[in-house]
């Protein structure tokens, strides 16, 4: 975990994510300044007494919403009005909303606190209201406004890390991947540049603030002695207006430098540049830029994107965007991204008209789901194994897809769906009330996606109906390593894991394609190394796959991952 290794491994990604982060911060700040400064001026000068508290109140309320919740609200609201729910746009909206208040408040108070005598004198000398604003109020308020901008910028850099959740990119990507995979390297690779950015930008803005403050009201040279004789050195000084224009120009150039690379030149020149590709089936189709969107876990685990990329020699034009698993399918369906990672059992693949690309070179190991239980828990509770094994080979992929769909898209409760299924399968008597358990507590874990929560609920329901044990639901944990770590430490008694994940992610072994072989290895190794037991597989193979919109995949003639890699290489 030394720094030079982090830089050599992740240097390229750090640079790119830092760039994205800067872009987000700059864009958000420019928009926020463009809104908040004029608004603050209007509020400070309005005669309507009710206005300022109203607007400031509203901005204040936005500020009290936790930043994570604000981002979530924007995604939900954007989904309702069919605006893009992922990517830079919703991220920017959240950042701008968050950045508004400090600038607004400081502009308002900066102007309000100007000595009324100054205003009166200016009026008495015959300045128009506009001249008073530009020559008296703004110069005197400038330091305060700049301070507001500084606070906002530092906040924005912090909040921007959360934008990674909705595919806006930035250093948050690295941080989330670090969390998902419990990797200190990635965590540091995301955190250090973010902290450094905050420090550097804060320092620069503080310098700018000093430079822009009119000399007469600068704190450091305020009280120079008034000795009559000693003449003041004539230094070539720049008027504040010139400085302001110069500063804006510099910011403008930096912004331009940040924004230019984001412009889709290829897309804009598509008219002239009729690039074509010959597909595997021999057709000639226009070359399109394909954008990939993967969740943090897929991006970071060895049997996810990093391995897939090498195995198929897959090279997207732009690094894949990181998306929350909940948003991925919708983003693909709406065309915000083209290629996503998907779980074979996810109901939304069919529902959103997506097509799974065939893993023609058998890269993904099988991911058969089975409960993993602590050996000591099994020993302590006779019959526990049999109850949990009631589900053995009990769920088919298609059934799981449907269950997932009911929760993800039809808004049913995971518990209700699980109960329904178990009842239908005759594993629970219809209408039976689970007896009030009196036995030991069993901690049942689950990772933070729908299928895991449904399966976790099933385990709990079986325990409740067939034993007197009292399951404790811990069903929304941060990911594989979080669940596994908790199980190993004894904080969990069991959770449903996938064989492939156990092999590659936890045991750190090379992927193997034979399902039985994989199961045997993980069962043996887990027992020996961790004193954990794999129970019987429950039937579903929730392998990772790549998915695309059916329409696009057909049009481009992409059926397998090899086709995709081929297409991208053209």
């Amino acid at each position: 975990m030394n720094l030079s290794k982090i830089i050599s491994d992740l240097g390229g990604e750090i640079a790119f994510r830092t760039y994205e982060h800067l872009f987000l911060t700059f864009a958000a700040m420019l928009i926020a300044i463009a809104i908040a400064v004029p608004l603050g001026i209007v509020l400070a000068r309005t005669r309507l007494k009710a206005m300022p508290p109203l607007v400031m109140g509203a901005a204040g309320v936005v500020q009290t919403v936790p930043s994570l919740a604000l981002i979530a609200f924007i995604v939900v609201i954007f989904a309702l009005v069919t605006l893009p729910t992922i990517g830079v746009v919703p991220g920017l909206v959240a950042l701008v909303l968050y950045a508004l208040l400090p600038i607004l408040r400081n502009t308002f108070t900066g102007i309000r606190q100007v000595d009324p005598n100054m205003i009166e004198v200016a009026q008495g000398m015959g300045m128009t209201s506009r001249q008073i604003l530009t020559s008296v109020e703004l110069p005197l308020a400038l330091p305060v406004i700049m301070a507001g901008i500084r606070i906002s910028t530092v906040w924005t850099i912090g909040v921007a890390t959360l934008c990674a959740l909705i595919g806006a990119g930035g250093l948050g990507d690295l941080i989330l991947q670090g969390l998902q995979s419990i990797q200190m390297d990635k965590l540091l690779a995301g955190t250090i540049p973010a902290a450094a950015l905050a420090l550097v930008l804060d320092g620069m803005l503080s310098g700018l603030e000093k430079w822009l403050t009119p000399a007469g009201i600068r704190e450091d040279e305020g009280e120079a002695p008034a000795g009559d004789e000693e003449p003041v050195k004539k230094k070539a000084k720049m008027p504040v207006k010139t400085r302001l224009i110069l500063a804006s120009a510099i910011v403008g150039i930096i912004s331009l430098a940040l924004f230019l690379p984001r412009i889709d030149w290829k897309g804009m020149m598509a008219g002239e540049d009729q690039r074509t590709v010959t597909t595997a089936s021999g057709q000639t189709v226009p070359r399109e830029t394909l954008a990939a969107g993967f969740d943090a876990e897929f991006l970071s685990r060895p049997d996810g994107y990093p391995g897939l990329k090498d195995h198929y020699n897959l090279e997207f034009e732009e690094p894949p965007r990181q998306l929350d698993p909940g948003l991925m399918y919708k983003a693909a369906a709406e065309g915000q991204v083209d290629v996503i990672c998907a779980f074979a059992t996810d109901g939304r693949i069919a529902a959103f008209d997506l097509t799974v690309l065939e893993d023609d070179q058998s890269y993904f190991p099988p991911y058969y789901a089975a409960p993993v239980v602590r050996a000591d828990t099994l020993n302590a509770h006779q019959g526990l194994r049999d109850v949990l094994n009631m589900l053995a080979d009990g769920i088919a992929d298609e059934e799981m897809q449907e269950l997932n769909y009911r929760v993800d898209e039809e808004g049913e409760q995971a518990r209700a769906v699980a109960l329904d299924f178990l009842t239908q399968k005759g594993l629970i008597d219809p209408g039976a009330q689970a007896p009030e358990g009196t036995g030991a507590r069993i901690h049942v874990g689950g990772k933070n996606f729908t299928e895991q929560i449904i399966l976790g609920q099933m385990m709990c329901l079986l325990l409740e109906h067939h034993t007197n044990l009292r399951p404790v639901r811990k069903l929304n944990l941060g990911g594989t390593m979080v669940c596994f770590g908790a199980l190993k430490a004894g904080d969990l008694d069991l959770y449903v894991e996938y064989t492939g994940t156990g092999l590659v992610n936890i045991l750190d072994q090379e992927p193997i394609s034979d399902p039985q072989q994989v199961y045997d290895i993980v069962d043996r190794e887990f027992r020996q190394e961790f004193d954990l037991v794999w129970l019987d597989p429950i039937g579903i193979n929730n392998t990772y796959t790549l998915a695309m919109r059916t329409e696009q995949a057909e049009r481009l003639g992409i059926e397998t991952i090899s086709d995709l890699a081929e297409y991208l290489r053209e």
């Binding site: 005598n117 008495g124 020559s135 007469g216």
Partner: protein, 327 residues
């Protein structure tokens, strides 16, 4: 030059700051608005440049009703200095003084010359002070700049609201004297607000004494001191009347009253007194010249003769009136 006719001002909260005020100010004249705090001096002054609009009545400047003029244009032609100086802290002295000329559209060389001229006028060396900021000046220097700024753009009318307030007595007197000399040169129409009766007597050609928004007396300083128009004026002057008399009473008055004998002789070489000198100024002449007897000059002739001894007894008598009265 400025005509105020039956002007009243009632603020929205019901305060009657000025009541039925009529006042005419001649061109080149300095009229002092005098009164206690809250008597309506500032309000009256601000109505002249429309910083406050009168509730009723008419004000005209140079024969033109101010309500018919664009307030911004009006103000650019009326100099303005306020109670708290009000220099812009973010501008150099040069920039502060340039504001009005620039609003008037003067070109840069003309403005620069004007700034230097005004700084010289208020005894601040342009080379040294032009590029300083207000925070780098002493209080007295700031007041000077405030005065200079109010004269920028050569306005025919200047409004000054306690321009020498908050200064030590010595600096204050120095500034008053400088302004009086300046006034002799530039001959502006000045509305000068103060609550200090000595300052009023010293600066004003005429004094308008206000109380609770009402005009109590409008007269020359000597008239005000010698003939208070009503009980309020007497009370306002109070014990200070007698000290004031030393300032307002001139040698001419002594000649007229026969206290000093009037003659008509050749004016000898050497120091002399002017018939316009006040008693205090005469005493000062004796001190600075070291003489014991001085001729009083008038029209190039010696029209009387005053000894230091006689002057002191006259002064003692003037001050003595106060002693008698208070018994």
């Amino acid at each position: 030059m400025i005509t105020i006719e039956e002007v009243s001002k009632t603020f929205p909260d019901g305060t009657e700051a000025v009541k039925d005020l009529s006042l005419e100010i001649e061109e080149g004249e300095t009229v002092v608005l005098l009164g206690t705090s809250g008597s309506g001096k500032t309000t009256t002054m601000k109505m002249v440049n429309r910083l406050i609009e009168p509730t009723s009545g008419r004000i005209s400047v140079d024969g033109q009703d101010i309500m018919d003029q664009d307030p911004v244009q009006l103000r650019r032609h009326i100099g303005y200095a306020i109670q708290s100086i009000g220099l812009f802290p973010h501008m150099t002295l040069g920039e502060n003084i340039s504001v009005v000329p620039q609003l008037l559209g003067w070109d840069q060389p003309r403005t620069d010359d004007h700034v230097d001229q005004l700084l010289n006028m208020v005894q601040l060396e342009p080379e040294v002070y032009r590029d300083r900021f207000p925070s780098q000046l002493s209080g007295g220097q700031r007041q000077r700049v405030g005065v200079a700024r109010s004269l920028a753009g050569d306005p025919p009318v200047v409004l000054m609201d306690e321009p020498f307030g908050a200064l030590d007595p010595i600096t204050r007197e120095q500034l008053q004297n400088e302004f009086l000399e300046l006034e002799d040169e530039i001959k502006k129409t000045v509305v000068f607000v103060t609550h200090d009766v000595f300052e009023a007597v010293k600066m004003g050609d005429r004094i308008a004494l206000l109380d609770a928004g009402e005009l109590q007396q409008l007269s020359s300083p000597a008239e005000l001191v010698d003939n208070p128009a009503n009980e309020f004026v007497s009370q306002f002057l109070g014990q200070q009347r007698f000290q004031l008399a030393l300032v307002t009473r001139t040698l001419e008055f002594l000649l007229d009253k026969g206290i000093v004998e009037r003659t008509d002789e050749e004016l000898p070489d050497g120091p002399s007194l002017s018939r316009h000198d006040s008693l205090i100024q005469a005493l000062d002449r004796f001190k600075t010249t070291g003489e014991t007897v001085l001729p009083i000059r008038g029209g190039g002739r010696a029209i009387g003769e005053l000894s230091k001894k006689k002057l002191l007894s006259i002064i003692a008598e003037v001050l003595g009136e106060s002693g008698e009265e208070s018994q």
